[in-house]
Symmetry: C2
Subunit: 335 residues, 2 copies
Amino acid sequence: MRARRNLALGILVLATSALAARVQDPLPSWNDGAAKKAIVDFVKATTTAGSPLFVPPQERVATFDQDGTLWVEQPIYSQFVYCFDRVPDVVKARPELANVEPFKTVMAQGRAAIAQLSHEDLVKIAMTTLSGMPVDDFRAEVLRWLASARDGRWKRPYTDLTYLPMQEVLQYLRANGYKTYIVTGGGQDFVRAYAEKTYGIPPEQIVGTAIGTAYSYGKDGTPVLTKEPKLILDDNYAGKVEGIDLMIGRRPYAAFGNSTGDQQMLEYTKGGSGARLAMLVLHDDATREYAYGPAQGLPDSKVGTFTQQLYDEAKKAGWVVISMKSDWKRIFAFE
Amino acid sequence: MRARRNLALGILVLATSALAARVQDPLPSWNDGAAKKAIVDFVKATTTAGSPLFVPPQERVATFDQDGTLWVEQPIYSQFVYCFDRVPDVVKARPELANVEPFKTVMAQGRAAIAQLSHEDLVKIAMTTLSGMPVDDFRAEVLRWLASARDGRWKRPYTDLTYLPMQEVLQYLRANGYKTYIVTGGGQDFVRAYAEKTYGIPPEQIVGTAIGTAYSYGKDGTPVLTKEPKLILDDNYAGKVEGIDLMIGRRPYAAFGNSTGDQQMLEYTKGGSGARLAMLVLHDDATREYAYGPAQGLPDSKVGTFTQQLYDEAKKAGWVVISMKSDWKRIFAFE
């Protein structure tokens, strides 16, 4: 009788401590190491009452780049795939584009044309395919596309390809009173279409490359807001800091990126007083994801340029580099 | 003994019901009437679980014009007074402006010059006095000015001149899960400097006329963000709808304004499905505040144009006009 009671008690103790360990670790997909420790230390220092580095709740802002920081960006940003997939519809509506470059090439080769187009061509395709429709229609259209589009490697919806360790960081920061923002070079409206469901981040906390809108009236007199091919904010490099000031109006306490396009956002974040956290994801895991850089001798790539110079600045300035290979126990939720 | 107990009980009952009445009325500075009823009915319809017009908490967005809607805008927007007061400092830093109009006139006449300047002159003064400094310095400077500046009529800080009934609406909506935003034709950075303390509205919920910033490095290498005389968003008329889409990315469920500059915001708000509330403050109280319009035969004015056409559209479209004179029991907290 006593033995049985002791056994039951033992099982209970074991179960409870396993549960406690799980409850106590807010970042279970992270291996122990400098990166994980930096995040936990930062949160404790800025949110523990009485800490000399305590940050009032209303000032707790954390910003995240998206492509390559929160989800896969290889072989090309998924938004560009969306734009390419939309070209036939746009050409159908505006037949005069069929014989104009770069649309002609895209009509002939589809997604395969991506590799050979210049940055200017890509911008032209983005501007044309992302404008001309009411904003509500655009968001519905992006959701339709996301529901059926699959990436080439994992054959999964793009929204499955978010990094589980980063989702844990988002949740951990929010659980500690931080407002989490995406600050992306990608299209603001594109990301807003799915970010609430995918990351738990509402539209008003998405800062991205933004084009203008035009206000007019439909046939029945109801107001219509139409996307216009006019750039309002180029949310890359210094543009990320300008976007943060324009849309948030507060300097972040934590910022996460993975490329030279995030450098100014991290500098600006670390430039504030008190505890500030700046982190860079290094894609050094060719097996489980991709390895590109070219920091630390990784191959160069069309997207997410992480130069050796950026790596050196990070080390010098006290930014923390996250090695995907060694810091992340698990990369995707579906694994 | 029993009589004493009954008396005590009677007092308790009276005190409790007085307290209950106070607790139950979220808008004590409003007189009973169509305007107050419209606000309370809207909140109940959109926030009561099971209501056919229920709005999920994350979609509860309410937008407020500032000048003339949340605080006094006569005889001129206080931001213009700020700009005029800054002209001597700007001319000291840039002596070449001393002999250039409109700066020459302002140097000679001070605030008195406001009445005779054109809209273009005012914009020129605003652009020049609101740019050229780091964003942090600008906000500190606005707070310094607000601490000492007094309006001409009540001899009080401008931030004392907010309308108590509207402060109650802000609090009532927030208590019911609404995110309250200011969407102002005034300068976004100017309003951000004081809005958190004055209205309980944080910087990231202020949408206003915005100028660009430039990112650079100070002598010690730290990043500096400087305000540039380059217009990013003209947050008036249709610009308010564009600003809402750019910064919030959701259509408001409730919108409050007081002039033709708010017309499109109210149209856009009412254009959504479900319960939508659109309200306009009519300044018809010459005794307690000001009476100007020219709706309903009120005198025309340099600011806050409320035309008869807007009044008629409001009545036709189901927008609710708030009569300051009859709907507001009390206008200022200091009264």
